[in-house]
Amino acid sequence: MNVIADKSLVERFLEENILFLGPDPDIMNNHHLAAETSAEAAALAKFTGKDDLNLVRHKLQTACNESFDMVEQMGAAPGAKWGDLISGVWTASGDLALSSMGGVLLFSVLTQHPVKFILKYWANEPTVGIREGDIFMHNDARYGNIHNTDQSLVIPVFHEGRLICFTGAIVHEGENGAIEPGGMPSKAESPFDEGLKMSPIKVGENYTFRRDIMTFLQNSVREPKLQLEGMKSKLFAAMRMKTRVEEAIAEYGVDAVVAVLRKTLTDTAEEVRRRLRGWPDGKVRQNVFPDGTLRENCLVKICLEMEKRDDRLILDFRGSAPEFLNRANNTVLASAKGMLAQEFLTFVWPDLPRNQAVFEPMTVITDRRSSLNCSPEAPNAQSMMTFFPSFTAAQLAAPKFLYSAKERATDVIAGWYNMIVTFIYGGLNQYGELVGNVCADLNGMSGAARSNRDGEHSVAPIFAPMADIGEQELIEEEVPMMKIVPNRVMTDNSGFGKFRGGHGYQQIATMKDTSLWGFMCCSIGSKFPSSHGIFGGYGPGTYPLCKIKGVNVFEVMKDRRDLLRFSIEELMNDRPFEGATYTTHHMGLQLEFATPGELYMITQGAGGGYGDVLERDPELVAKDFRDGLISARTVTEIYHVVLDPKSKAVLAEDTDAARQAERARRKARGKPYHEFVKAWVTEKPPADLPFFGCWGDRSVIHRGTPDDTCPGEAIAPVMMPDPKDVEIAKLKARLAAVGAA
């Protein structure tokens, strides 16, 4: 028997009979630029004029911005209308060379994967192919992007039969047919609970959607009209960009476009390397502790060691929490890289072109099957619950290099607020239509303090520097939600410091004129703050979901307007509605149906503070007090500022004395480092703290208890119990205890 020949036969059979095309690790684990093609080399050799290169680059950049505006104006999804998208141009090799200046910039580093999949698997596939007029779509994060509420659409652009580039857009469309409405199901316990998952797929030809595929997609989601409208707006934007590319070719020649796309990438990468060389060499470290999975509270440690060496930056997340096989908070590694790139695109080098090459000199190291590098079997619809904290770790670490860097493009900044505090909704709207989506005011995250000024209140999300929170009146036209208090600043909701973080607003929502309506929330940080200050500044506090149920405020307030309170604090502490139930929860709320007039209340978090509170200008403290941003307690007990009781003006000498006294108290209560460590550090996490990730040794991963561990190199995924089973077990134990008594 010829073993070699038999083996070869088997190998040939397997090669010729691929049963299933899953996510390609060679594509998904590689964020680097494709090698320069011979066509690109030839174009670069021919088209060398710097001014012309610049002109063509700006033409294409303007085309991206124009297409962005088109989608934002035409799109029906809340995410589209408020800027949760980008539009861009990809090279013929699939790298994103240019994208719109606004929108969700993390897309800039994770949209290349589906295009590269299309090129690798469909270009020569007889049943698919890539031809002029084709339309490709995709939404499965395991093939690129963030999570499957985002849908991407690209079209190839040809010139005289040769593929020149791709144009397209990616939009947070919302509803996707998951186990919960709105597209981001925190209840998902497997990828199959997360709704529609499109691997890269051809959905149209001749710039026309195939009706059969469109019908399938519309039947896969709760909002079929939105699905159609979203696809059309992305297609028209891609086609407009294609027209602009063709105009550039007509004016400057095809080599100009090919050369500009390639040179934009290589120039960007080289500029990042140049800037990195100006940072000091060494390592900085940052730990953050997300405090839940959205189904339960637990500590999900994310630890980062960031090493800068010459012109390279290595982000090492080994030791972070393991993947949760039946929770939606896992992140695909490529998605994590996108969010990390956001730090550099927005907060470190906002002057650089928005493209994939910004991340070219970076290396990301993770443990396989950790929460930042999950397997395809793990759900990822709420990946933000781990990759937003990974962003925060990078944002808090970077200033330790940046402060002494040779040059900076931005101010040194503390930790931006990092959670999507808003309502997701689902049900029948006031017109009887089934709807499910997310409110855009998640974009109102508060800005962090900087080295030279305070943070802005509820200004922009960490993932999109130019996005909107939406108009309440427009929202009420479409859905039966009312926000009795839509956006009111909350006193003391700030990261205190020499410069303070921006304040977050509180929201008090209810619903009416519908027979079926449910709310969801998806944020962490109810027990452990999700962001932090830097250089002695404090972080934000923690935020609960508050509910007042068993009451219809529209009924009881018909003749009793005096019952209304305009803050969560007053409503929950005063309890003005007799007979109602008042409860607080973590902010991971799975779809919960409400009855008209019940109240659901959440609070946008604050930005982190910068520097020592005792260094804050007393006049700024007094102004914050007069503006209602901070309480008298904060003035005296945090900032140690003394105000005149009547005029509220600063008493300078008394303030100096108060601050000197506090400095003396610090020196009295502080312990020498080694003495403190001896008393403080424990070998393992506390027994009553559900802790996931390394404690001291980064190679030992805790799985929820002090003694259940696994090696970082061989992570055993975590299966969490159903929170209802946990609650039932507690109640049974109480019953048993009562019975025994």
Binding site: D281, K283, T542, C546, K671, F676
Partner: protein, 130 residues
């Protein structure tokens, strides 16, 4: 002459002596090749003292961090009492050695320029680069 590089708002490294210094009072903190925190005073703060509970004791979640889950570790300069850094940590979690710069590289980068300036007679008695 000494060359001092500001590393954070309150920390600098004196290159010739290879020491961490307080930028507020000039206090000598620790070897620049060690964790600067070893030369500071440390305090375990109940987070509710900073993030005041807004809701009363009837509620499980109050806007204040849970002190059994989270503590604020404050680091003070032993000389002037400036709060140099804070860490939010679970109880008992090891403190973070957060800045570990390559001192040889830092010296090579900055002292080469400072020596050249000194040679030309242009160096000030004490330079603070930011």
């Amino acid at each position: 002459m000494s060359t001092t590089i500001a590393i954070t708002e309150y920390l600098a490294i004196a290159l010739e002596s290879e020491r961490w210094e307080c930028r507020v009072c000039g206090h000598d903190i620790a070897s620049a090749r060690d964790n600067y925190k070893t030369g500071l005073l440390v305090y375990d703060r109940d987070p509710r003292e900073i993030h005041d509970p807004k809701l009363d004791e009837r509620y499980e979640f109050t806007y204040a961090p849970d002190p059994t889950w989270c503590r604020i570790i404050e680091f003070y300069c032993p000389s002037c009492g400036t709060m140099v850094e804070t860490e939010y940590l679970p109880p008992g979690h090891p403190l973070t050695h957060d800045i570990e710069l390559d001192i040889d590289s830092l010296k090579a980068r900055h002292l080469a320029g400072a020596n050249a300036a000194a040679a030309s007679g242009a160096a000030a008695s004490r330079s603070r680069e930011v």
